[in-house]
Amino acid sequence: MLGVLKRPIVVTADINLNVVALTGVGLLSRLWQLSYPRAVVFDEVYYGQYISFYMKRIFFLDDSGPPFGHMLLALGGYLGGFDGNFLWNRIGAEYSSNVPVWSLRLLPALAGALSVPMAYQIVSELHFSHSAAMGAALLMLIENALITQSRLMLLESLLIFFNLLAVLSYLKFFNSQKHSPFSLHWWSWLMLTGVACSCAVGIKYMGVFTYLLVLGVAAFHAWHLIGDQTLSNGRVFSHLLARAVALLGVPVILYLLLFYVHLMLLYRSGPHDQIMSSAFQASLEGGLARITQGQPLEVAFGSQVTLRSVFGKPLPCWLHSHQSTYPMIYDNGRGSSHQQQVTCYPFKDVNNWWIVKDPGRHQLVVNSPLRPVRHGDVVQLVHGMTARLLNTHDVAAPLSPHAQEVSCYIDYNISMPAQNLWRLDIVNRESDRDVWKTILSEVRFVHVNTSAVLKLSGAHLPDWGFRQLEIVGEKLSRGHHGSMVWNVEEHRYGKSQEQRERELELHSPTEVDISRNLSFMARFSELQWRMLTLRTEDSEHRYSSTPLQWVTLDTSIAYWLHPKTSAQIHLLGNVVIWASASLATAAYTLLFFWYLLRRRRNVCDLPEDAWQHWALAGALCIGGWALNYLPFFLMEKTLFLYHYLPALTFQILLLPMVLQHVSDYLCRSQLQRSLLSALVIAWFSTACHVSNMLRPLTYGDRPLSPSELQALRWKDSWDILIRKH
């Protein structure tokens, strides 16, 4: 007790002033005049919409990536007190006074600024010198494309931040592996690796590439650990378990948590509802929930229902019929039954209502006691407005001649008898006695006479069918396919026996009231699945580019142009840095293979630990670059220059390490070393100069004259906007 008093309380702070200084200039470069321009810049128009949706708690679906990035941007809006009232309709629109531009752009800018000291840390954790580390950080600092991208409401800088964080924390963890495994330090870096990985994946699917990189390096190290025979089996097992938990378990849980928060936040129905299933829609406040609230759950004989196609491709639609009949003869000369058309209609309509009828009775109302329809029951479907029965027969369908035509039967007194019995097949049943449930049950209708299945063919009918979607009876049941499955969306028990009353009843809204809940996992899996499978129309963009153009910087993107002057923001990289980073990559690869081949012949040019560091640096940087770049060659979506930035950061990290290596191991004399230093300094000043020249396009703060702009157009393919006065 007294001992404590005897000795003074000492706090030893170990502050690397380099890091502090780098953070300072990083913040300065990214935060300077952050709220300028006070107008929508490029993709802000896109992300802004989602921020507004978050502010208003309206459900949306963005297939471009998981929602963490959107949530972070929205957090900025929340902190700035944004109410979500802004119409994000065009690039260049002035922000109204209620939009807190500064705080909306703050988080990406902070992420961009912190990437600078992180580059320093990564290089020093890779056991390279402080000057190399400083070099990497400075290159990050002056890289124009990174500055532009992080000063706006965009996701790349957040992604790059978490990528670098994942790599850095893995390196810290790995370096503490030797002397202090299972210490607090060790655990926290390991966990942080997992967290950073899942954040990166949560921002954009692209983050998966860095996650794979970290996993790959970790697996390699773990494999060596297994081979380390100084460790006991138990020790090895606990090492592996810790890694599995932190690098596999934690990211999965966090990813789920992310979606949980996302779905908690967005509880109101919105414009993207239609894409989701009825059950999902019913779980949102407003929208379908308002209609379906309180619907009776079990479908009974006499129920009035609308039937929605579960597949929903090419459009979500409902089984529909109307007075018009199929044309007697089609354009191609084939004949039809000339009976009433049955189609799938993508809008809510009174003609979407059908009545479930017991073939044995004439009644179209629900009796008491209720007789629920079960799996395997034979039913007839009566079209509510025309009172005709759903029918199929051996006549070729209008657009899919291999399948049967589906019609509402009209008795023409011809030799075509009614074939209107359908057996109900509940696809997602738990037992064979399951009751047909509203929204929850997914059902198929199997025709009793021909065993054809009611199916949405997906083709659009011509003008005679009002461009609605074709419905056919698929005779050769090709397994389970979503296009054959239907669910009841709206449902009520029919009360009126008379046709006229019934029509009135159909026109009136449903009234009874109960709510229905979907579990989180069901909602998550549906949302995730839709995000992955949704195909938005791929339109080519004016500034889109191909991956090959990125390395040579043969493309640019105009982000914003001042409404009056020629001040503009243009995504352009620092040419010197891009070129030298690519050269460094090539040089590294050549050197690496040269050393590798010579080592194989037992010629060791490098000491063992230098070789280890050299190889690890390459694995992380070249691996990071390749993983973040090469997959784009296989992608079919529209690509932009900014997709290359994560790969570029890895290249930039490698560049000073290669230079240091050349100076340490390839320069034989002091003279050569000094010469190299001089060259490096000259090269770096050029990079700074170029960065400064491009600065007006990076910040957009200074209008340039047409001749100045023309002078900056170093490549023909750069689309720098020049106003013609």
Binding site: G227, S451, S457, R478, G479, H480, E540, R600, E636
Partner: protein
């Protein structure tokens, strides 16, 4: 891992070997030797102790079977020098301890007390008999009922037709390289088929046409798959039961059987893939006798098979990749073997470059040379190729062409893009849809010859008919301002400041105006790029550019496929960037002008490399163009290994003769389980070795077989399966079959090894012997019985569909997605 294990082995070898021939035996030499367990005529005497130990435990009968694992003496025999032989000797002891009981038993059998010579002859006879039996059964199953059904089945309609084209020497276009179809054509020709059958659609009756030659040829190649697989597994595992199991799995697989019985490319493709795999494995096992005759022959056979595989379908690239990886790792080991001089390593490298790169390339090019020489008549594929290419084809209107030489006003022409596989400038009565630039008539490029490709060259300022005989002929010259009027719709080629439909940076090109009257946006300046023929525009020879007068952009095609509204033709744009790329250069192909005399002119004859390059460009473009249509039910790669859904080869209704391509579910699901089991047991084994666990010699031998032999096969499966997930083109179930072959071989190796491990684990009990034999036997019988159940799928069935309890297949529709 490799290093750790080999270090272990060196240690052991050093302690057990009485006198290693050279003091400092480098570790890697051992490691490499061991990979292949080569056979040895004279094992060193130190092994006899091992032999004696195990002799009692191996019953006589089994020994005979086991000893068949050795290489035939011809292959194992020594062309190698003395240095090598001594090393082989060392390696022999190593192999014996690795393979454990088998080779030990062999050694025992070879000990001086045994009548060596007669037993060896007996053993060789047995080995050949077993191989002959496997081959015979394979041939019998493939040729049984080959003539049924006597109508066109499934893709026979394509490949049969293409075979006929070769016989008729008619030029056609297909997305696959030509070898497979050439062989089919050859088989048809040799068997007396005259090429007159039309192969119009599946279901057409062959009647009197001789189709059996072509089917027989495919079945013949398909039958070899099984002996090849048998030998490959035998070489990788040194175990007859494993090889037999593999052979049974493949023989009794209804899918392989069905696919081998029709005129398709798949049996040919799989033949070459398996041949390449077999020769690669064989050449690996002669690695201890480099540059010997068998080594050279297996190496060059590998190369030949690779050329064959690639010559049939581009899927052959996967087996090339596999052989490539194997070669790289092989060279890596040789390079690390410090006892080999760099010159020797260089020789190894050169040999591989010669046999695995140069030889296949030469053969592949030769295939194309034959293809192009044989097909010398004009046919349905002409339009896909450049004007110069077409001039080679007799019957084409450019062959010995007789057309007016210079373009004049009033000429009716077709204009072809110089970039490969873009096609003719085309327009039709359909408009661009709403939201895609101006709603005017579409202008596209189109690969087929068509009336809508015709354009009339007119003066920009007059609309009078230049063909009026009262006007003098006026030639079009470089730099003239012209108008191009579409002949069928009388609209002018037009461009304006609207975005092009797909390439947004370019301007839209449309058809505009009524009966030739439009506006100033219809004017184009015609420029000749190669003006050495003078200022006039020469048909075929002149390379022209069309510059839009108002905007200054140049007419080109982006090569992108328009969506459905554009009939999947290619986009035409006007490029504001005046780069000299081929896609904005055109030539005039057809030329009609009654006022000019037709003269015959020699057209540029393309050189062979140009033809080769052009064919490939066209094929790749065609392959990329095979996109699934909207709403079409397509087969997904994940369906395949679970045998989710088959392909209907013939017939759909009760009364038809139905053939349904579906794997034997027992075999396929066994394969699926085996892959999972393999991954599990493989990783356990690998981790155990990495941990440096001291395994008993026998277990260690089996583990090595599992990891190395099984690893090769797993790699084959992965390479032939996973790339399909990345492919954008339309996929079919039958694409999985090459992967399925590898997976079946893996199953054979896996179960044999696992059962042996089980038997070893139970060594104390009396069951030990039986477990292995019983296990293999029950697997064999199970497969055979499942084949008995499912054989109607392949051999054809008539009668009610499987849902019907009356059907012969009733109760066998285990998955609802199977429709037979």
């Amino acid at each position: 891992m490799l290093c750790a294990s080999c270090r272990l082995l060196v240690a052991r070898a050093a302690t057990t070997l009485p006198a290693p021939p050279r003091g400092r035996g480098p570790a890697l030499r051992y490691q490499r030797r061991e990979l292949h367990f080569p056979g040895h005529p004279e094992p060193p005497s130190s092994d006899s102790s091992v032999g004696r130990l195990t002799r009692q435990s191996v019953p006589l009968g089994r020994r005979v079977i086991l000893r068949r694992g050795r290489m035939p003496p011809a292959v194992g025999g020594g062309l190698a020098g003395s240095e090598l032989r001594s090393r082989r000797g060392r390696c022999g002891s190593q192999a014996a301890r690795v393979v454990g009981r088998d080779v030990a038993a062999e050694a025992a059998a070879r000990s001086p007390k045994r009548p060596v010579r007669s037993s060896r002859r007996f053993e060789a006879a047995g080995r050949w008999a077993l191989l002959a039996l496997v081959t015979l059964v394979s041939f019998a199953t493939r040729f049984h009922g080959l003539d049924q059904p006597a109508h066109v089945c499934w893709d026979e309609t394509h490949f049969g037709k293409m075979g006929s084209y070769y016989i008729n020497r008619t030029f056609f276009f297909d997305v696959h390289p030509p070898l497979g179809k050439m062989l089919i054509g050859l088989a048809g020709y040799l068997s007396g088929y005259d090429g007159t059958f039309l192969f119009q659609k599946p279901g057409d009756k062959y009647e009197h046409h001789r189709y059996m030659g072509m089917r027989g040829f495919c079945a013949f190649l398909g039958s070899w798959l099984i002996p090849f697989a048998y030998l490959t597994v035998l070489d990788l595992s040194k175990s007859f039961p494993a090889a037999l199991l593999t052979a049974a799995l493949l023989t009794f697989d209804t899918g392989c059987l069905t696919l081998s019985q029709y005129i398709l490319l798949d049996p040919i493709l799989m033949f070459f893939i398996m041949a390449a795999m077999l020769s690669m494995v064989k050449y690996n096992s002669c690695a201890d006798r480099p540059f010997s005759a068998p080594w050279w022959s297996w190496l060059s056979l590998t190369g030949i098979s690779l050329a064959g595989a690639l010559g049939v379908k581009f899927v052959g690239l996967f087996i090339i990749l596999q052989v490539g990886l194997n070669t790289i790792s092989d060279l890596w080991h040789l390079f690390g073997d410090l006892s080999l001089s760099l010159v020797t390593v260089g020789k190894h490298l050169t040999a591989r470059i010669l046999c695995l790169i140069v030889l296949p390339l030469v053969l592949y090019v030769a295939i194309f040379a034959v293809h192009i020489t044989v097909l010398n008549k004009s046919g349905p594929g002409d339009g896909f190729f450049s004007s110069a290419f077409q001039a080679r084809l007799s019957g084409n209107n450019l062959y010995n062409a007789s057309i007016p030489e210079h373009l004049a006003y009033g000429s009716v022409v077709t204009v072809k893009n110089l970039r490969m596989a873009i096609g003719y400038l085309h327009s039709h009565r359909h408009l661009y849809p709403e939201g895609v630039g101006a709603r005017q008539q579409q202008v596209t490029t189109y690969l087929h010859k068509d009336y809508n490709n015709l354009w009339i060259i007119k003066k920009h300022n007059t609309n009078s008919d230049p063909l009026d005989p009262s006007f003098p002929v006026e030639f079009v010259r470089h730099g003239d301002i012209i108008r191009l009027e579409h002949k069928e719709t009388s609209r002018n080629l037009h461009s304006h400041y609207h975005e092009a439909p797909l390439t947004r940076k370019h301007y839209q090109v449309t058809g505009y105006g009524i009966n030739g009257t439009g506006d100033s946006n219809d004017f184009w300046r015609i420029e000749v790029v190669n003006r050495k023929f003078g200022n006039r525009i020469k048909v075929l020879r002149s390379r022209i550019r069309l510059i839009h007068l108002v905007t200054g952009c140049v007419l080109g095609s982006s090569g992108k496929v328009l969506p459905k509204w554009g009939w999947e033709q290619l986009e035409v744009t006007c490029t504001p960037y005046l780069k000299d790329t081929l896609s904005s250069i055109w030539n005039v192909e057809d030329h009609i002008n009654p006022k000019l005399p037709n003269i015959s002119l020699d057209v540029l004859q393309p050189s062979f490399p140009e033809i080769l390059l052009e064919s490939h460009m066209v094929m790749i473009r065609g392959n990329n163009g095979l996109k699934p249509k909207d709403n079409e039910f397509t087969s997904k790669p994940w369906h395949w290994p679970i045998n989710y859904q088959g392909l209907r080869f013939s017939g759909a209704n009760d009364t038809d003769f139905r053939v349904y391509l579906l794997g034997n579910p027992v075999v396929w699901w066994l394969n699926l389980v085996s892959i999972a089991l393999y991954l599990l047991s493989g990783s356990i084994a690998a981790i155990a070795m990495q941990r440096g666990a001291q395994l008993p010699a026998e277990v260690e031998g089996l583990t090595k077989i599992l990891l190395r032999g099984g690893g090769q096969l797993l790699l084959g499966w992965v390479l032939h399966y996973f790339p399909f997930f990345l492919m954008g083109r339309i996929l079919y179930f039958h694409h999985y079959f090459p992967a399925m072959l590898f997976s079946s071989m893996l199953t054979g190796v896996l179960w044999d090894t696992l059962l042996r491990l089980c038997a070893w684990g139970l060594a104390s009990s009396s069951l030990a012997r039986g477990v292995h034999a019983l296990g293999i036997l029950s697997l064999l019988l199970g497969t055979a019985y499942s084949f008995y159940l499912f054989h109607p799928l392949a051999y054809g069935m008539v009668g009610p569909l499987a849902q019907d309890p009356e059907s012969p297949m009733a109760g066998l529709r285990w998955l609802e997605s199977w429709d037979f």
